[in-house]
Symmetry: C2
Subunit: 352 residues, 2 copies
């Protein structure tokens, strides 16, 4: 590209870039971003969400697990904090839950008290987040409970095997086993996959894996802020470093956990980094992220790659939110909003 | 919101936030973002676009015009760099252009060599960007030429009055005068408004102003990275400060220019900051921005407000791009992609 093109059309858009650089920092290349103070944004953000945005950096962001056992010990301490809140959540969402197995994999079946006629023959399959090592058992179900409650769908939440019980590709294989079992009584076009973070990646990986196995693709998917590229590639790994108060850094706990799960497998494999997968023929997808999300780039890259492959794909980006905050608490207005959008999308695209 | 809710559901999503803060920077509130170096992102970005992303900060970002005459002097120097490239652009886009007036306002009428049958009775109205002071005359037409060429639509580009010739609300009034004149021979549902930056804001302001005047809303709009909030409100004014290499800062040239145009008028008026307008009844909208855009927040806030008002609205966010870079050069693949998405959206929503 010639220099005069740059000066011409950058000018045409906004401001003229001069043909000759005139300062020491005027060389094309990496950018030096100065230190700054970021106020808590408030415009168009609920007071409840503002509190999540105002929270300090996750103090555990730099946990560096080396083994499945180490990760699991942390996961169990964390799960012990999550599980006690689940009965009240279920009550607010008007759902029931029971443990079961499907296709040989552990699941929780979540059933709303009322299922409207159009959802009677629909099924959602949930894959939880947690960097492939966190949220074992019931601790992995809050997002599934919220989706069942807000959307009035029957949801099967996959309690996929995690380190040290099993390693890559156990998570996606368990999820696809559940899908295969579901296909015995529900048509593919009536089924959707959804999840957040590693669960967002898994929703994409499930489509790739199902296709490998000759299974039909589901009717729709909702990958929330997917860990779509675990090779530390994606611009917001840099721009949102220490801006995202949940993941915080590309070199943090989630990166360490994924390396544990992968157990030496190539991280660029589309079953670990689905942004590198062939997305032609994917079902309609709705993606969710926030402007401060460390995985903002890896969400918009998936969105664009889906569009480039001709797939119907919608993107929702929430102002000021860090990784996965749109599903932290069912009592936050933006949570209801995010799940409401996903439910509307599913309603439009799923068979009945 | 109680503290245990925070610790419970932040945990449920990703990592446990402890009930008690344990470090000096662990107080809720503004965040200290450290200085960093941002590499030039390359994944899923064309080499041509990488060059725009790699460009140093716009050296003119801190121009602080105090009067319409000062802004105009700069605008004319800049326009002189843009205009010579227009004949070649028109040739590549296979369009013709002629100056005219419509409803008393100056316009350029851009006509593609070939207009497919479905677009014969459709018309797009373009409002250029440039902070309400830049790109007078032909210099304001490149985006309109690209839309005409990529989408095969007849486009009327409004050469609205700017300081020092006229001040707020001259821009929106000229644009609405053109719309009113267009309605004499084209149904509202066959007309779309589009533009970038101030032009993105104007596309929204035109809907508000048309409604005030009792005119019907158009069939669709495409506000690109709209200057939807000129009160310096929006999180990415902070997070993308000195990350966006075009606008660079909320205290830069664009802010100064808007103050000149507003000439003392309340900046929170929805005809200057349309994010504060009532968006119920808006036509379907497609919004475009980039992850490094200083106006990322003010694009996603409009998207969410449209959705909250029940309006069909799509969002496209391009990896690594700063303000308005998706329309800097017709030869960049992402430019063709962005305009292609807008054309598809118009094709879906406009009458024939």
């Amino acid at each position: 590209m010639k220099r005069n093109m740059l000066s011409l059309f950058a000018a045409a858009a906004m401001a003229a870039l001069p043909a000759a650089a005139h300062a020491a920092d005027a060389t094309p290349g990496p950018l030096d971003e100065p230190a700054k103070v970021l106020p808590v944004p408030t415009a168009d953000i609920s007071p409840e969400m503002q509190k999540f945005i105002a929270a300090p950096l996750n103090p555990d962001w730099n946990e560096q697990w080396k083994t499945g056992a180490e990760a699991r010990a942390y996961a169990e301490r964390q799960a012990a904090k999550v599980v006690p809140g689940i009965p009240a959540l279920m009550q607010r969402m008007h759902v029931k839950m029971e443990a079961a197995t499907m296709g040989g994999a552990r699941v929780y079946v979540i059933t709303p008290d009322e299922i409207p006629p159009e959802n009677q023959n629909r099924l959602l399959i949930h894959v939880h987040g947690g960097c492939y090592v966190l949220f074992p058992g019931e601790a992995g179900t809050p997002e599934a409970i919220m989706m069942a409650g807000f959307g009035h769908y029957k949801v099967v939440a996959v309690d996929y095997r995690m380190p040290p019980e099993a390693y890559f590709p156990a998570a996606v294989d368990d999820a696809v086993a559940v899908y295969k079992a579901a296909l015995e009584h529900t048509p593919a076009k009536n089924i959707a996959f959804f999840g957040t973070s590693a669960g967002g990646a898994l929703a994409l990986e499930m489509v790739l894996r199902a296709r490998e196995k000759g299974l039909p693709v589901p009717g729709a998917i909702a990958p929330g802020t997917p860990m779509s590229d675990v090779t530390k590639t994606g611009d917001s790994f840099y721009t949102n470093e220490k801006v995202d108060n949940i993941l915080v850094s590309r070199d943090g706990f989630c990166d360490a956990a994924t390396v544990v799960y992968a157990k030496g497998h190539d991280l660029k494999d589309p079953l670990l980094s689905p942004v590198y997968g062939d997305m032609h023929g994917f079902p309609p997808a709705i993606l969710t992220t926030g402007t401060r999300d460390l995985l903002l780039s890896n969400t918009v890259r998936v969105h664009r790659n889906l569009r480039r492959a001709g797939v119907e794909a919608q993107l929702q980006v929430f102002e000021g939110e860090s990784h996965a905050q749109y599903q932290f608490d069912d009592r936050v207005p933006e949570t209801k909003e995010a799940f409401g959008e996903i439910a509307m999308f599913f309603d439009k695209h799923l068979g009945k």
